[in-house]
Symmetry: C2
Subunit: 73 residues, 2 copies
C-alpha cells in the first residue's frame, strides 16, 4: 500500500467564501493577512499499482470547480 | 509575507464519518483501500514574524477535536 495525500482547492477565479471569511475575521482581529484559501485534504492508503489520478478525478474531486494536487509518500 | 499551509485532521480516536464514507464508497467500487482521512487545508499569507502556531490554535483549528500540522514554504 502507498499513502496518498490529495490537496483540494476551489478553482482560481471561483468563489472561496470560507477563505474570505477567514481572511476578514483575522483582519478584524488585527492581523495582516494576504490571500487565504480554505480547501480540503483527503489522505488514503491505496494499492501500489493504483492509478491515483484517475481515482481522484472520478471519486474525490470535482474537476469542474476544484483544483487538486497529489502527494505520494 | 510567508505562505503557511495548515493541514487539519480529526483527532485520532474521534469519528471521521467523511473518511469512513469515502472508504466505503471506494470499496463498493471495487478498490482496495486502507485508512482514509478527510480533513481540511487552510493556506494563508502571513507576516514574516507572525506566531503561526498561536494564530492557528486560536482561530483556525479546534485543538479539542482536531490535530494539525503547519508547513511553511
Amino acid at each position: 500500500m502507498k499513502r496518498v495525500r490529495v490537496l483540494i482547492r476551489p478553482k482560481k477565479g471561483l468563489l472561496d467564501p470560507q477563505g474570505r471569511a477567514v481572511k476578514e475575521m483575522l483582519e478584524e482581529q488585527g492581523f495582516k493577512v494576504g490571500n487565504v484559501v480554505v480547501g480540503k485534504m483527503v489522505e488514503l492508503d491505496l494499492e501500489d499499482g493504483e492509478d491515483v489520478r484517475s481515482l481522484v478525478e472520478r471519486f474525490i474531486v470535482n474537476p469542474l470547480i476544484e483544483d487538486y494536487e497529489i502527494e505520494e509518500t
